[in-house]
Amino acid sequence: MHALSGVSLAIEQGEFFGLLGPNGAGKTTLINVIAGLARADAGSVTVLGADVAVDYRRARRMLGVVPQELVFDPFFTVRETLRIQSGYFGIRGNDVWIDEVMHHLDLTAKADANMRSLSGGMKRRVLIAQALVHKPPVIVLDEPTAGVDVELRQGLWQFVRRLNRDGHTIVLTTHYLEEAEVHCSRIAMLKAGRLVALDSTRNLLASVSGSRITAHVMARDGSRHTFQIDGYAQLERELARLRQQGVEIADIELERPDLEQVFLRLTS
């Protein structure tokens, strides 16, 4: 029994890449192999040309990983935590960057608070800050918004998008499909350790129903009319046709293909 089997993919530099799949699909295992936390029985992973097993020091310097579990060292404050993490990566005197990261993650007010005293959302921010102390070209976010409130989620995505614009490659796993749909330009889907889809988000969405829009029209007499259109321009024509048939329109619902449909089709 293998957690992953025959997974082969290349993530381009500068990409915002999504890794999706149901629980137990092997997303975290794949990330752990990339990060050197788990070892693959066979095969290899390279980060910007550095093999994660052979050239592990170079590979790890290029990676910033935000782990899924909310872990922290209760002995230290936020600033101490970030200084220590910088030191692990061979960086001294990193306070200017640490201050900047704390500012973007809204942590400045908590800089001297002990990790133990922080709320879950705050701890999550520190985890993200820890992954960024060494300005890694590749940032791996394993379920970064699990258990995070809406406000932080917005701020977090703004910051991650900025990092992506600045040239950082982002690899994201998430349960929230709409997050992947909004942010990721390309997506891989895993199921039971195997790669079941690897394509641009747009192509994956188009694959569900040829990117067609489904319209549900509710009439005043309670009847329901469902039809598919290729674009919004077609909508008026279809509605006119219904009116001609004597249908009095009470309500319209439009359903665009979303990743959930792709996901369900590929993983169920």
Partner: protein, 251 residues
């Protein structure tokens, strides 16, 4: 190098932030041993000529606290990091397994020596001590702390739960230190027990350390030093091998 220094200083900070528990408490425990055993046995036991029992007892107590605290430092730090999961921050960083080993062991040596020095300073107030060969004392304190720091790291790597580590501490480390001749000279033991004591590596550390104070020991200090160095190399080799393989640290 910066990675090593950071991990080392993090380990120092970790025990210094709770120094009442990690330094002051073990110093107090040793002083209690001195008061109780000194009071009970003073005048009834003579180990070396011209050395009072309490004076004989002090170096043993100092070394016992060095050893126990060196072990406690690396083992508890590692098991806590494993259980809480924050070990991931070290595992994600470009820290080599040799740096990992050296940082944990060096911090354990500092804690062991800090507690040992504390015990020595306080007991010196009550007991008159000579220091015949201070270099031997330093060498045994340092190597003993390093050996137990490495042993603590080994126990921390292998253990998955606190109770496994506690079992190792209570059923291996504690009996070996208590039966190593801290409270008596093994010459006073019957044949079988004396023989068994020679199989206890802790005995050589205590005996060699004590030689530095009195210039007298059960075993020549050079032999003891050789055994301690050899034990350290064996444990260090095992630790490095496990760290390199990622045993129970990386899946």
């Amino acid at each position: 190098m910066i990675s090593f220094w950071t991990l080392f200083s993090k380990e120092l900070l970790r025990f210094l932030k709770v120094s009442v528990q990690t330094v002051a408490a073990p110093v107090l425990t040793s002083l209690l041993y001195l008061v109780i055993f000194g009071q009970a046995l003073e005048g009834r036991m003579q180990v070396f000529d011209g050395v009072r029992y309490t004076a004989f007892l002090v170096p043993g107590l100092v070394m016992m606290s060095v050893l126990q605290n060196s072990f406690a430092n690396s083992s508890s730090s590692l098991i806590q990091s494993k259980i809480t999961g924050n070990i991931v921050f070290i595992l994600l960083a470009p820290i080599s397994y040799a740096e990992f080993f050296l940082a944990y062991v060096a911090a354990s040596v500092v804690r062991g020596l800090a507690v040992g020095a504390g015990v020595l300073v306080f007991t010196a107030a009550f007991v008159e001590l000579r220091l015949e060969a201070p270099l031997w004392t330093l060498a045994f304190a340092f190597l003993g702390a390093a050996l137990l720091g490495a042993l603590g790291l080994l126990a921390g790597i292998v253990s998955e739960k606190i109770d496994q580590l506690a079992a190792f501490q209570n059923f291996v480390i504690l009996p070996l230190t208590m039966l190593s001749g801290v409270f008596y000279s093994i010459h006073s033991l019957p044949g079988l027990w004396r023989g068994l004591s020679h199989a206890n590596p802790f005995f050589y550390m205590i005996d060699g350390f004590r030689y530095g104070f009195f210039g007298a020991s059960d075993v020549p200090p050079g032999v003891s030093l050789g055994i301690v160095v050899l034990s350290f190399l064996m444990v260090a080799g095992l630790c490095l091998g496990l760290l390199k393989s990622g045993y129970k640290l990386r899946s």
